[in-house]
């Protein structure tokens, strides 16, 4: 229940008098006003630019729409076809889940590790930070896709290095067992974004906390577990949620590097959805897929948020969602 309701009930139980309610309601009204004032940029934008397209896509999910002619209502047909008749759909789901559950933890661990490494403030750390962030900057360009294909190609750098170690080369991109790992390594390579956020979070931890802990005789590990981790938890929550969402919606790299091949092992959900919309002009089917994805992501995100009350520490206190 909301704060106001709980407070009201508490007051009722304690039998407080009216004047207190009046002061509270004035403050609440002020809060509401201020809240909506600061919220207004997003709210207005939402109503003008986002709400209508979202509702439209929801409606489209129940129609057959080839973009060129008006949509025709087909009720649950898209969902039925998707879940029961589409082999590619399930391959896509499998590929996406595999990716999320490997790439996301990998990326976050590397990002956190490197952020901690860089936080020590030794010399040249600015240069290192730029170097570690550089891969993320090249992001989703055509050039990086070509390069990545070259590196993992049959005669590419990776096989060359393996050959130097007398290990036989692997057809990374063409073998259905390994193709997805080219994308997972790509995701891990581009850990710059969560790393930067961890860094910013680390910087925000007041140094006095470490100082007083040192005075109390705490060692490095104790400081990490007792100060760093707890103070980082809001940022960890953020990165975890965002990376899960991004993982489920992974598109550009799969589109540019592997195009979903071979055998649909890298045909991520968002890519398959895009192909169904723009290659075969099945916008309705694609919208149905999108809304199923939204439900899945919402489910996992809710899970993480639910659990967050057990492990996330906010300096400004627990806030009800």
């Amino acid at each position: 229940m909301s704060d106001t309701t709980r407070e009201w009930l508490l007051r009722k139980a304690r039998g407080k008098a009216r004047p207190v309610l009046k002061r509270r309601s004035r403050i609440t009204r002020q809060n509401n006003l201020m809240g909506y004032l600061f919220l207004s940029p997003w709210l207005i934008g939402f109503f003008i630019f986002t709400l209508l397209p979202i509702v439209a896509s929801l409606v489209l999910a129940f129609t057959e729409y080839d973009i060129f002619s008006p949509p025709t209502w087909v009720a649950l047909d898209n969902f039925r076809k998707m879940l029961f008749q589409d082999n590619r759909y399930w391959r896509s789901v499998r590929a996406t889940f595999y990716y999320v559950f490997t790439a996301v933890p990998l990326r976050l661990l590397v990002a956190l590790g490197v952020a901690m490494l860089l936080n020590r403030g030794r010399r040249l750390v600015g240069v290192y930070r730029a170097a570690y962030y550089a891969p993320s900057i090249v992001g989703g360009s055509v050039a990086i896709a070509v390069m990545w294909r070259q590196i993992f190609g049959v005669d590419g750098l990776v096989n060359y290095a393996l050959g130097a170690l007398r290990i036989p080369g692997v057809n990374w991109l063409g073998d259905p067992r390994t193709a997805i790992w080219t994308l997972i390594t790509l995701a891990a390579w581009q850990f710059g974004s969560p790393m930067l956020i961890f860094l910013a979070g680390l910087k925000q931890i007041p140094v006095e906390l470490y100082e007083s802990a040192s005075i109390d005789g705490a060692g490095g590990w104790a400081k990490f577990v007792g100060i760093t981790l707890p103070m980082l938890t809001p940022v960890i929550l953020f990165n975890l949620v965002m990376q899960i969402i991004a993982g489920f919606m992974a598109f550009t790299q799969a589109y540019l590097v592997t195009a979903g091949r071979p055998l649909d092992t890298t045909n991520f959900y968002a890519l398959y959805l895009y192909l169904r919309a723009f290659e075969t002009h099945e916008m309705g089917y694609s919208s149905a897929m999108a809304w199923v994805l939204l439900l899945v992501i919402a489910f996992f995100t809710a899970l993480v948020f639910r659990s967050s009350s057990y492990w996330v520490y906010y300096e400004s206190g627990r806030v009800e969602e």
């Binding site: 909301s2 986002t50 397209p53 900057i137 007041p206 809001p234 919606m249 723009f278």
Partner: protein
């Protein structure tokens, strides 16, 4: 390790030497992993200096046998008289304006969600997060129709104006940082008679600078490389952004001038890098809350 042993043994390394070795190892590990990180970028840059016969024949080498600038010349020429100077200008304009808009508006909204208790806060936060979870591909057509009715096609308006209305990712990011600030700060300010607006500008904003900078860096580079929305909304080549222009070089069904793509991609990394390096020192500053102790 026993205290007795350390006091007695002369062969023990002095702390300074141990530090030096530790530092050297640290730098060694970091430098070699940095090299791994940037190797593909170095490769791209090296390839941009290779002539067409060399690019695909001597793949792994980072040093071109016959360095040449022809890729830069060819690439810069662009298409039919529209050079990359135009594309750079467009991209710079787009990325800068979008960043200012996104960061400023997101900060306001984040403040509301993080610090103000108002009716419906939880509801709107959930809605906002949900908007992040819908793949943009299915919104393309309906959004296009909306903008088409507004007559904004073939301008930068559909790309820029929505960015002045908050970005869910940045909002959430800044929220987490604002929540990391102790409540005592605002309470002290409120007692001193400061309004919510004052608190926002005078206390919260300066303290979440790392988050603002981070958001700015992200926003810049995301808009810099976005090609899907420019593709849909910018029809005329003279409006193209760099990301779109570079894409237009490639055509899998015939020859692609990869040298030009690598050259222009290398060039297009420069502004993003510059922004990053210029702003990253703000990330370095931590906060000092000595003001609280008193």
């Amino acid at each position: 390790m026993s205290v007795v042993g350390t006091l007695r043994s002369p062969a023990r390394l002095s702390k300074r030497n141990r530090d030096r070795i530790g530092s050297a190892i640290y730098h060694l590990i970091v430098v070699s992993s940095c090299f791994l990180m940037i190797y593909p970028i170095l490769w791209m840059f090296a390839s941009s200096l290779k002539g067409p016969s060399e690019i695909w024949t001597r793949l792994s080498s980072l040093i071109p046998k016959v360095p040449t600038f022809e890729n830069y010349v060819n690439g810069w020429a662009g298409f039919g008289g529209i050079t990359f100077a135009v594309f750079f200008k467009n991209s710079l304009f787009f990325a800068t304006m979008a960043t200012i808009g996104a960061v400023a508006s997101s900060a306001c909204v984040a403040y509301a969600f993080a610090k103000i208790r108002f009716v419906g806060r939880g509801f709107w936060f959930t809605v906002m997060l949900l908007t992040l979870m819908l793949p943009v591909q299915v919104l393309l057509i309906p959004q296009y129709i909306v903008f088409s009715k507004l007559n904004w096609i073939n301008t930068f308006r559909p790309l820029l104006i929505p960015r002045f209305f908050g970005n869910a990712f940045f909002i959430f990011l800044m929220m987490q940082f604002i929540r990391g600030l102790p409540n005592e700060l605002d309470e002290a300010a409120e007692i001193d008679g400061c309004s919510k607006i004052g608190i926002f500008f005078r206390i919260v904003l300066p303290l979440i600078k790392p988050a603002l900078i981070t958001a700015a860096i992200f926003s810049f580079y995301w808009t810099w490389e976005d090609f899907l929305t420019p593709l849909i909304y910018l029809n005329e080549p003279r409006l193209y952004t760099i990301s779109l222009a570079i894409r237009s070089f490639s055509d899998p069904s015939s020859t692609t001038d990869w040298g030009a793509i690598f050259a222009m991609s290398s060039l297009s990394l420069v502004p993003v890098f510059v922004i990053f390096i210029a702003f990253q020192r703000y990330l370095v500053q931590g906060i000092s809350t000595t003001g609280l102790k008193g």
